[in-house]
């Protein structure tokens, strides 16, 4: 009985609803096209000018090279003022970048917040060192370094952390050969809410 009623109701109501919709000109809020045709095409050149990221697979690493010794010289003039002569930093604003003490080597950071997280004991990818220096450094003159200078500074910092010989020169190929002690220590987020505290 109820089904018949609702059925007949629908028969009566539906045409009226359609009429109202038609009178209003479509669904509330307007139509949804496949594309709105807003914005403009970005040119290859303008993308290249801002596409500065370097991936963990080395994608985006530019041509160029720099030696550990060149990097040490650039570091002394452009970086040491904030980061310390040996990369010891001035925490907390300028954390230590260099160091592989025994506690850090065991990746015991969860136990003791005082263990400095350095490039040598906490950075998982050598490409990140290059990418970050090129993005953001020197702090007072970001974007002012040449790619050769960024390679040299990367080489110096990796060498200071014992990850590259003092005689080395770094380019896109050799940067990808650097083994980072922290690699393999990172895990995906396993928190899911619900009843388990992780």
């Amino acid at each position: 009985m109820r089904a018949i009623q609702s059925c007949s109701l629908r028969v009566r109501v539906l045409p009226a609803a359609l009429l109202v919709l038609a009178a209003c000109g479509g669904k509330p809020g307007g139509d949804t096209p496949a594309r709105y045709g807003i914005g403009r095409a970005a040119t290859t050149q303008e993308i290249a000018a801002i596409d500065i990221d370097v991936g963990p697979d080395g994608a985006g690493l530019p041509a160029g090279k720099g030696s550990v010794s060149d990097g040490a010289a650039i570091y002394a003039t452009k970086c040491a003022q904030c980061h310390g002569q040996k990369g010891e930093g001035m925490p907390p604003a300028y954390p230590a970048m260099v160091g592989r003490d025994s506690a850090g080597e065991k990746f015991g950071f969860a136990k003791d917040a005082k263990i400095a997280k350095t490039i040598g004991n906490y950075w998982s990818n050598a490409t990140t060192v290059f990418d970050y220096i090129r993005r953001a450094m020197p702090h007072t003159a970001p974007g002012s370094l040449t790619n050769d200078e960024v390679y040299a500074l990367t080489a110096h910092l990796l060498s200071a952390n014992g990850l590259l010989p003092a005689t080395a020169t770094l380019d896109s190929a050799s940067l990808m050969q650097v083994k980072m002690p922290a690699a393999g220590h990172f895990v995906p987020d396993n928190r899911r809410g619900g009843g388990t505290i992780r």
Partner: protein
Amino acid sequence: MTDPESKEGAALTRRDLLRGAAVAGGAALVGIPAVARSQAQALAPVVPPLVPQVLPPIPADATKLLGTPTSPVGTRSRFVTASRAPTGEVTGTSFTPLQDLTGTITPSDLHFERHHAGIPLLDPARHTLTVHGMVDRPMAFTVDELRRFPQVTRVHFVECSGNGRGAYRDPKPELTPQKIAGMTSNSEWTGVRLADIMKEVGAQASAQWFLAEGGDACLLARSIPMPKAFDDALVVWAQNGEPLRPEQGYPMRLLLPGYEGNANVKWLRRLEVGMRPWMTRWETAKYTDPLPGGIARQFSFEMDAKSVITSPCAPRTITKGWNPISGLAWSGRGRITKVEVSTDNGKSWREAELQGPSLPKAHVRFAYMWEWKGSEQVLLSRATDETGYVQPTRAKLIEVRGKGTDYHFNPIYGWRIATDGAITFHGES
């Protein structure tokens, strides 16, 4: 790219700005690491303050004296002193004064700040969002162009994942709501669905991640899983009915509801669609969570459910008799379904009232009326969200994450009331 200067794309380079600052500021600017003057400081014209330096006397009877005239932009009452607590550094933080606020919306000029290379001065006429990578049509959008897409207005919190680090590692009696939780703020945001932008550029179905990059002096960049773009991510240009504040990303920012603040990239200039995360400094060296067992959690975006009592609180005092216990609760995984309050240091719990609608991934205010009879008490609050997650104790968090973990601190917090009504922070739940 090979020329680092070309990213400026305009006549004025950062070097020019720094040079200008050096001329304007003289010898005081030379010292490092006092750090370069910010862009705003370098360009700010010297203008007289809008408010008279000498305030008129407070009349004995305001009804007997004509009031002040209308003005183009309002200011707070001179009796209101709520302010952020800035560290004053270019790479700094300023905390929202949660104990001075009511309701759920954070006034835009009191929204907490966290930036890594100062606040950039971006001209909306020149600033664009470029979307490229695994897309069929690489495109650039100005703010005016984005405004032509269907607009969305939503209330969401943004919380720095470092919020509460000090209270977690080293709880001290003098801590206030501003200090233990002031790096969360809640706003009504207006913008466009990132999904609409991704459809417009033809993001490829096989893409797994996208990189979001800001136009600030460190080009802050974060990798975000592609499903978030098609879930609830927004690109917003407005906050609480007006354009974004410069410190909140003017002219546009990414808004990832429920995700840690750092991923909500401000001054958004570029989105690159790709197959794998980029492993930027802010998702490897920073914003990763060391855990027991020699591991660290990475891409831990969602903010766990949390609550904090903002009244009564330190360093205030409480008056004998009836008082509301009031505070804020929020979850990065959806709605808050319940907030419980304890007035006996966790021995018993009573359900608080959720005031107003509990919106997903937004602050909700809770309140519980309580009669203080003058004995020593510890007040606690704990939130439950719609996934069934219950805010844990600090002891439980230390057990599973370690005391040295670096982000995501959401323990049950409390306030100790002494017999004279003095209130101190109680962080040992």
